[in-house]
Structures are given as C-alpha cells and as structure tokens.
Symmetry: C2
Subunit: 106 residues, 2 copies
C-alpha cells in the first residue's frame, strides 16, 4: 500500500470528493448522490483519503461526516514550490528580455 497524497489525488472522483468536502463536511451517502456510483465505491475512496490523512471523520449518531484536512493539501503546494521557483525565474528572464528590447528601440 503506497497511499500517499499524490496517489490519492490521482483519481478524478477522489478530487471531486475533496472539492466537495472542502466546502462542508459530508456523509458517504450525501457524497454518493453527487456521483454516478454506489455508496460503497465512495466509501472506498474515503478510506483511501483517510489513510493518507487527507480526511477526518466526525461521528454524529449513526452518521459519519467526512471533513477535509486542508493542511494536508499544503504538502502538494510544498512539492510544487521547486517548480514555481523555475517558472518564476523564467518569467523574470522574459520580462528582462522584453525591457531590453524596449530600451533598444528607444
């Protein structure tokens, strides 16, 4: 079982679930209504999301509300940081090039 956050967001249904519960906590049944699939399938996705700590449960009677652990999402942002540095550098270089051309035209 790999079960890391990158594997978790690889599935489109899982990304949709994440987007939904980011707004408000939801039960498996409520989530399943949003998809063309069974509750069990959704539950399996929730299990995977729980295992990599992207989601936490809150018991309320016989219902279980699943909520997004938004902080965990920052791990993706953190990984992206190294590439953001690169594309910002490239943008700066382009910016510099453009202003050099501008200067030459004067």
């Amino acid at each position: 079982m790999r079960r890391d956050i990158f594997q978790a967001i690889a599935d489109p249904t899982r990304r949709a679930i994440i987007a939904l519960i980011a707004v408000q906590a939801m039960t498996p049944n409520a989530l399943a209504e949003h998809f063309d699939t069974t509750r069990q399938a959704v539950s399996k996705h929730l299990k995977i999301l729980t295992e990599c700590e992207l989601v936490k449960q809150e018991y309320q009677g016989r219902e279980i509300f699943y909520q997004l652990e938004i902080d965990k999402m920052k791990e993706i942002d953190k990984w992206l940081e190294q590439f953001r540095k690169i594309w910002e550098k490239r943008f700066d270089q382009l910016d510099q090039l453009l202003s050099t051309i501008k200067k030459q035209r004067k």
Copy 2:
C-alpha cells in the same frame, strides 16, 4: 488511457524524473542511472509524461533529450488555487482571533 497530469505525478519515480529534468534535459540512459531500474522502465515513464504533455523531446543525433514542459505544471497550481483560498481564509481568521485576544488583554 486516462493519462492526465494528476495520474502522471502519482508515481514516485515519475516525480523524481520530473525533478531531474526540471533542472536540465536528460537522455533516458542518463535518467536510468539515477534509479534502480532498467532503461525501458524509465522510457515507459517518459512515454506517459510525453502523452500528457509534461515532457518534450529534443533529438540530437541518436540521443533524445527529454525536457520538462514547466508550463504544464501550472495546471496543478491552478487546481490547488481553490484550496489555497480556503487555508488562507482560515489563517486570516486565526490571525484575527489572536489579535482580538491581544486587545482584550490590554
């Protein structure tokens, strides 16, 4: 074949390849030396990365240099945007709470 960018970065080897070629373009053989796997396995990863346009080839004699299409990485950043909004809002709320407590103590 799903072959979208999220599925592409789900594999740890693929993420490592991306990080390597982000710095400089590399050939499959050069890449394979960095991993405990065969050149063919790396080539397969490169094929997947190429299919979702995360990587482009540059032919140089009989060698093929693979280079990261850094712009494609922005798609992940774009998807993350919706969550960044949430965690920044939460941070602001926490910040506000802390300054309220500070005021009350005065």
